[in-house]
Symmetry: C2
Subunit: 466 residues, 2 copies
């Protein structure tokens, strides 16, 4: 069985869908016979070198499409499907059969995926990027031939410092900016500077942050989020010396931290001699009113570490993120800079510097903001039209996602959506410490979807759920 | 004083030389007057956002060129130089004065730098790289628009697995290969998989490895290196569960681990249920006889973690390194893959895949090998001709550096070389646990130097030292 699952990794749909498709093809072609036991999650995940979670998703998908069946305390077995209908020669005819099952098979490469990690790639100025990359290779061979400054190239840090001041009110010198390959890597670097103090994270919150800190043996405590963001009273009752928050657009719930709470958390940091990590992961996209200034801009006491990234606003592939260190940590960083060399391509660093310096960055951001505003507004109007009062929308008027509160059991809602060709995501995975939302919360990311897909996706959701 | 030191970071000479040059210019132009106290190492390092070590090097250089003088228990002061001679208008005349001091001033941008981190960049096929980068941007937009698989792109891992098998005898599937931005990042990831066991490193050895592990709160023990590499008897007397070694070309001493010692350390790993990290950092360049197979190729018990990098053999700027995990660790990795997303540019990953797939990699390696062999042979013949029996050469017949043993005090030898326009490096920094070599050891990296520079550099070294 293992050997017959030959994974074509070059395909571009989500991994679990691809795994699922290969198993389906083998079932359809009768290579995997009815009643055959599928490998365990563990075995198949080892064999393919992918996570168990991915295999679970793939099996879940097979289960919901009826290709396999679960036998309690035994495992997952190939179901009794009319293999004749699905044999590859007759496949074209089969998909004409107007049943839910065949409809899904027809469309399983066309799932509408409300993923939060997708971004719109249709308006990225590829030809500009290519031109500036060639400029870099032709004219900046010192960038090609060296990993550059540990901290990141000065020219790029200059551009970022200028941008942060103009758009986010963050006042910092280029010396305070550390470039790194992903927020995750920078969090590790920051941990090295701060040490194994207790860390507080939002609950619900960006689960990776907590996991990375736990892997580094830090004590991590989850602090409940209310509509103003992290509850500072609860925070003050812990031993935490560092608090990780997303004040501009709480992830996942979307709340914006009002200035009263901002002042409160800064006071906590000063009184407690602690730090606040402000992850401003998608603040480029604020659709209503003025952009909210960063927490960093309110901090007069060198207590805030600011995190930003180009992953969601420029190109995910170049892995370019940065953090702004306050003085006390900068001093420690300087002593570590020789050990921790730069992780971001020096070619890309120069290319982004040129991109920013020549005005393309601001132009691109404006276009993206307009596009995302349209998508955001469409998501809201479609949700209202199709669901009315049946759902509650937690809307932040910014970013690439909304959370909706729906009646019904989370896994059933997600499975029903899948059956209708729509992938939506559970918010429950972002809760920990045994917490969970009172009403089921579902995450809808719309960054990578077209306007048509958004309408179609929400229409299908309504069919699935109402 | 701080404000007047305006650092032009875009320049390409080593940072300490640039800092040094700016201070010199200010002294020459009488902006910094005779008797002015320079800022402390700490103050200047904070102000410029560079490491203290860099400032120390810069001040050391100013001291050795006589621009400043050290007053015991007080600090470093601008020396009494005939500023008239050095005023910027008369600078051209001044440099004609045939004294050691002016010669050095004239040439301070032309230091011959025997750095171990430099690589030859003259024969890199830039036009091929540019073409393949454009191919990637044009034809592989899925690479542009996503960070790709956590583990690294499958196509690139295929190419690496093929290369490792053919050139290093490493048998591994692409599933076992993890791509990451620098060896340092991969070491962190490995630490997350292995946990806080005790780690053994070579003494002397690559100091960063120990520092990174210590920053991660691991217990690190240094094990003495003899002419066969790490002493396994000493290793077995420790609680270490992981040993980091450089068997193909011990860093920095250059010894090659013979097969007897290899078998010994593998037996230690099996009996002790431990792992060996084999860092094969520059094994592409073996000049005499057959390449020595990797330790990995001798391992039948899934005990070796293999580290490789493209930094020294292709392009330092793209930050592309990899590790090969044995089964037990791969299983753990698979569960972490969703947290630790890929850190290397997906654009560069595809470009390197195309570079390898189309034969450019093997061609480039062959050219580099020929070039480095010439440089290596020249270093040896020049050293022999100029120094004869006065020095002892620890020669590995591979890689980009040699270590020489010389009579005299290390800092004095290095300062004398600097005065003659040559930068050489102390081996003592790679010893720890209070160890030090009996006879002074000096490191000469020759990767980035031309044949002419090698000859000139060693001639100057002989003048400085004999």
């Amino acid at each position: 069985v293992l050997e017959s699952i030959n994974l074509n990794i070059k395909n571009n749909s989500p991994l679990y869908i691809r795994i699922c498709d290969f198993i389906k093809r083998d079932i359809e072609n009768n290579i995997l016979h009815k009643g055959t036991k599928l490998p365990s999650y563990r075995k198949l995940s080892e064999h393919l070198g992918v996570s168990r979670n991915t295999i679970e998703q793939a099996y879940q998908q097979l289960l919901s499409e009826g290709y396999v069946e679960s036998r309690p305390k035994s495992g997952i077995y190939v179901a009794d499907i009319s293999t004749g209908i699905f044999s590859s020669k007759q496949h074209e005819e089969a998909i004409k059969i107007n049943t839910t099952a065949s409809k899904n098979i027809e469309k399983n490469c066309n799932y509408i995926d409300f993923s939060v990690s997708g971004i719109d790639t249709t308006i990225f100025p590829i030809s500009v990027w290519k031109k500036l990359t060639n400029d870099t290779i032709n004219n900046f061979q010192e960038n090609l031939n060296s990993s550059g400054e540990s901290q990141g190239e000065f020219g790029l840090r200059m551009q970022i410092s200028k941008y942060l001041y103009e758009s986010r009110g963050v006042k910092c010198s280029p010396d305070q900016i550390i470039i790194g390959a992903s927020t995750q890597y920078l969090l590790y670097l920051l941990y090295i500077l701060i040490g194994s103090d207790d860390y507080a994270v939002e609950n619900p919150g960006y689960d990776r942050i907590a996991k990375i800190l736990i892997d580094l043996s830090a004590n991590v405590v989850g602090i409940d989020v209310d509509q103003k963001g992290m509850n500072v009273e609860a925070l003050a009752n812990t031993a935490a010396k560092v608090a990780y928050i997303t004040p501009a657009h709480q992830f996942p719930l979307g709340y914006v931290m009002p200035v009263s709470r901002r002042v409160e958390i800064l006071e906590w940091a000063v009184n407690n001699n602690s730090y606040v990590i402000e992850d401003d992961y998608d603040s480029e996209y604020r659709f209503v009113g003025k952009p909210i200034p960063s927490l960093h801009s309110l901090d007069k006491n060198e207590r805030v570490i600011y995190f930003g990234t180009f992953t969601k606003s420029l190109l995910p592939s170049i892995r370019l993120s940065y953090m702004v260190l306050p003085e006390p940590l900068l001093e420690r960083y300087v002593n570590k800079a020789e050990i921790y060399s730069q992780t971001v391509s020096n070619i890309h660093q120069k290319t982004v510097e040129l991109f920013m310096d020549r005005g393309h960055w601001n132009r691109h951001l404006n276009k993206m903001r307009t596009l995302y505003r349209k998508k955001h507004d469409l998501v809201l109007s479609e949700l209202f039209e199709k669901f009315g009062e049946k759902i509650n929308i937690l809307d932040a008027k910014s970013g690439h996602h909304v959370v909706i509160e729906v009646d019904g059991e989370e896994t059933r809602l997600i499975a029903a959506a899948l059956l209708h060709g729509v992938v939506v995501y559970p918010v429950s995975q972002y809760y920990f410490d045994g917490k969970s939302p009172k009403r089921t919360q579902i995450l809808l990311g719309f960054g990578s979807l077209s306007l048509e897909e958004i309408s179609e996706g929400i229409t299908k959701l309504a069919k699935a759920w109402i």
